[in-house]
Subunit: 574 residues, 2 copies
């Protein structure tokens, strides 16, 4: 049973859960008609199923290696990336001026879902390139745009993000990389950057590094940071590759997973760079790229979950272990019929639906913000981004863990392939801002509007659920109560003037919010099919079995900081 | 900061949580005086800190390998095992007749905790050998006992368990290995066994395989299975090693973790075996070994959690990332002072305490059963075993996951060592009966007494909590309510005549039971120090933040089977 792209699930969520038709109804995205969407999803499904999924294991067993200073990538990766580039898919949501298709980010998100599910390690490359395209579109000079965007959009060149330094991880402001004006409009960039995903490869073309560094007059902290484009090869005016820049890959990290994605330590030694955006405003430009990437990483998590789920389901339908409860009752005869295995499969599927719905709702909000310019949509998008990132990646971890469990002993054997999902997806909860950082962002920055955005979403959920009571009270009633608990937890958060009180429960708050959101999306799905059918059965499963987790999470969320700091270092060390 | 054995925690739990003094007060264990316990824990702490912890990374980076048909073990493993054997520690709880110390299993459990925390992969070897010693003590003939027990107890020889075959995992009864009487009292054993931990090594001495196989007149299923001792070398009458037996290691598995533990595919080709116990009663004998091993595997999980926690705490106290909320207020200046990092450290520590308390309570119940012969203690031990196994290993997974998270990007880099705990501990939720099998055991076999054992424990918890209300109501009140919810869930379980209704929620039930038990043990700890001190602060943290999870778990537990089986295979495959 080879990988099958989740086209039906995406299409259903577009149509019935996240109201993609609103996007298609805007002038900006008028081309995203239903037929176009179907055609695109179909093409991407074929690419992910036939070209990407077959190389996923090679990415693990034949890892990217640094050989004579150059990264040699895994078997088949160059060709698979080439197939993506040839389709023009890197520019699916890029502006048409530079060769992009100008289609909604929701479609790119669906693409990233399929690419992540079929080959997470290679999928990280287009994700970074997409982010770079967006950062350049929004912040670069016309000259830089003209030079880089067409090449990035065609996939001839690829992009990276260079933020982290050994001493500056979550605290980006502590970076030490320097930029010195060369006097000719360019800058000399020096410093070491770590954890640079796809910092080099052998696909041909250029590797375009967006690098954060401090100008001589940059103040300490994040406000003194500027952003630079520092290409591996300095392009000639005609766009051909010129001389090599003063940068190199020092080493590749030896990671627990995602071996197909080369993670580089980069050294810049007076490398030539071009300013992107204004001096000292690098963080703002980088945030454009990061917000895009955060949603993308959440989608990586749920994509990996999809891959792990399909593998586990296949095993559960093949593996026989004694008499099942459905023997003689039309069962499969395989372990999928045992209650606890069925329970795991149900949890996996229900939470993939939840994570996918949250991610696509976030993408639709981003698209609506772009298309309408309305502040409400932009705020909705900003609010959903950390939830999509953290819940998507937690789902990746949980589902791949259950995927191994369904396999029993074989799950722990590398050749089975189930363990690869578990190892690969683990980093998604860490990079692009750890899930803790996402949760802090949610309860602080994303609530600076006095909770207006949070309550707008809560109100929307509650109004829908109130209406649903008429036709579907058994599903709607527990959800209505859960939304009420979420409202109270949100009010508690906003009442805390000291942000640290919020931070003390921010991760469980984010997870509790996602649990309730999941109930809303499952209910929408159930009502869309009139309360009877596979979506309704999955909704009933979710609302009965997984939604109740919100209570524990939201109690934890509102515990406050006192008990945390009461636990002294001595207490913890004893 | 090198590994520090959790002697203080063990000692505190012995004294104030699991009433170890009851064990020491029995005739059988009268030698387990407080001074003896201290001396033993001190010696084992030194061994685990100085000899075992330093080789843990070698077990990962220099994995056991099959070379010319013989297993070559990781660097330092032979010497570390030798140090354990020299101390006589393999026989800590073995009968004195054969050279054992005859001390309580609670002490052996504390040892396994330290050995697992310092080197999980090597620790699996003594765990298996301990189980084999117990199985032989209870079921073997005097001749077999005389030949094998002294050598196993001295650590000169080691033991394995051979249950699983490719087609017979959780369904042990499907095994095909055969035993044919040789006419001289021995049997010819043939068949293939998989996942045989420590199936071979280069420590010297014999490898003693306990093998399940079917006699010619054995009926199909588990009732036709017999148990045999099949040594690698056939011992001469004087106990020296004789000729090689007809068995071999076909290959070692390539696993996600636990690389220091060789996992063998074993081939028996008419190998000479000796019957252990009666013909066709092999499962009963094997269960003796498995129950011991199940508790031991739960302890592996919490031991790995301890190792992962110490590593994360060390990192959190060293790593600096910007201004912390405690700056200028006596903080450490390191990330341990950020609320979300402190929250993770608190969760890790609180759940290690929970898992350790459950495991040691189980060990004490086993000891009391042995010492007094009382059915209540035996039933308590049997009831706690699956909880100790599953909750201990889930804690291993959760804590090692958080350990990586605390490390941020460095957690994903293998050289850091945090990832090893995450990879190593994963299998503990799978082997010795998956956690799903444990939960099925809990709600079916362990409730065949109409819930008498479950309710005895629930009553004990509730009576204690009721009393605690007088002095400590803020802690006791939420626990009292949680116990009530657990009682209702337990009543629901017992009301289900169809076991599959119970199985549909058995894993969340087990986890919910553990959550409530954890509240009880934390409360006992808090009261033991008069409600003020580090244990009380940890208890407050647990009761406020982690206990509330019981609500979601127990709601899930009692959802019934209807929604599960409503999800058809088509629903799950769509």
């Amino acid at each position: 049973m080879p990988f099958r792209a989740p086209v039906d699930d995406v299409r259903f969520i577009f149509d019935h859960v996240v109201d993609f038709d609103k996007v298609a109804a805007t002038d900006r995205f008028a081309e995203a008609s239903s037929d176009t969407v179907d055609a695109i999803l179909g093409e991407l499904a074929r690419l992910s199923e036939e070209v990407w999924a077959p190389i996923n294991r090679d990415g693990d067993t034949d890892p990217a290696m640094l050989e004579n200073g150059v990264v040699r990538t895994s078997k088949g990766f160059k060709e698979a990336f080439g197939a993506l580039a040839e389709g023009g898919w890197l520019g699916l949501s890029a502006a048409e001026d530079n060769g992009g298709m100008g289609l909604p980010l929701a479609l790119t998100s669906a693409m990233n879902d399929m690419l992540s599910a079929s080959c997470l390690s290679l999928g990280l490359n287009p994700l970074l390139t997409q982010g770079q395209i967006e950062a350049l579109e929004n912040h670069a000079s016309d000259a830089l745009k003209a030079m880089y965007l067409p090449k990035l959009i065609s996939g001839e060149w690829t992009g990276t993000m260079n933020l982290t330094e050994p001493q500056a991880g979550s605290d980006v402001g502590a970076l030490r990389s320097k930029a010195v004006p060369n006097g000719d409009g360019t800058y000399a960039i020096s410093g070491q950057k770590v954890y640079i995903s796809w910092g080099d490869h052998d696909f041909g073309g250029n590797v375009c590094h967006l690098v954060l560094a401090r100008l001589p007059d940059g103040v300490p902290g994040t406000k003194g940071i500027s952003l630079f484009m520092v290409p591996k090869y300095i392009p000639n005016e005609d766009g051909s590759l010129g001389e090599a820049n003063s940068l190199r890959v020092v080493s590749l990290e030896h990671k627990m997973g995602l071996h197909g994605s080369p993670t580089a330590v980069m050294e810049y030694d007076g490398a030539t760079g071009w300013l992107v955006g204004e001096e000292h405003k690098g963080m703002a430009a980088m945030f454009t790229m990061m917000n895009n990437a955060r949603l993308g990483v959440g989608i990586q998590g749920l994509g990996a979950a999809e891959g792990a789920y399909q593998k586990a389901l296949e095993f559960a339908l093949e593996r026989k272990q004694g008499r099942t409860p459905l023997e003689g009752k039309g069962g499969t005869g395989a372990i999928a019929d045992f209650a606890d295995v069925r329970r795991m499969l149900g949890e996996m599927r229900a939470d993939i639906f939840t994570a996918r719905s949250i991610a696509l709702a976030c993408a639709v909000a981003i698209d609506m913000g772009h298309a309408t310019g309305e502040a409400e949509w932009k705020a909705r998008a900003a609010f959903l981004t950390p939830i999509a990132k953290a819940f998507g990646t937690e789902t990746g971890m949980r589902v791949s863990e259950m995927g191994m469990q369904v396999h029993g002993g074989m799950g722990f054997i590398e050749e089975t392939g189930a363990a690869q999902y578990y190892r690969d997806v683990r980093v998604t909860a860490i990079y692009e801002g750890t899930n803790g950082i996402q949760a802090m962002d949610l309860v602080a920055r994303k609530m600076m509007d006095k909770g207006e955005t949070a309550f707008a979403l809560i109100d929307e959920m509650q109004a829908f659920t109130e209406t649903a009571r008429a036709s579907c009270d058994t599903l709607a009633e527990p959800l209505w109560q859960a939304i009420e608990t979420l409202r109270e937890a949100t009010e508690w958060m906003l009442a805390q003037g000291d942000l640290n009180e919020r931070f003390a429960g921010c991760v469980p708050y984010l997870m509790g919010f996602a649990r309730v959101l999941g109930g809303y999306y499952h209910l929408k799905a159930a009502l869309a099919e009139g309360g009877e059918g596979p979506r309704s059965r999955l909704a009933a499963f979710y609302l009965k079995r997984l939604l109740p987790e919100h209570a524990g999470l939201l109690a934890h969320a509102t515990a406050g900081a006192a008990d945390l700091y009461a636990l002294s270092i001595e207490d913890l060390s004893a």
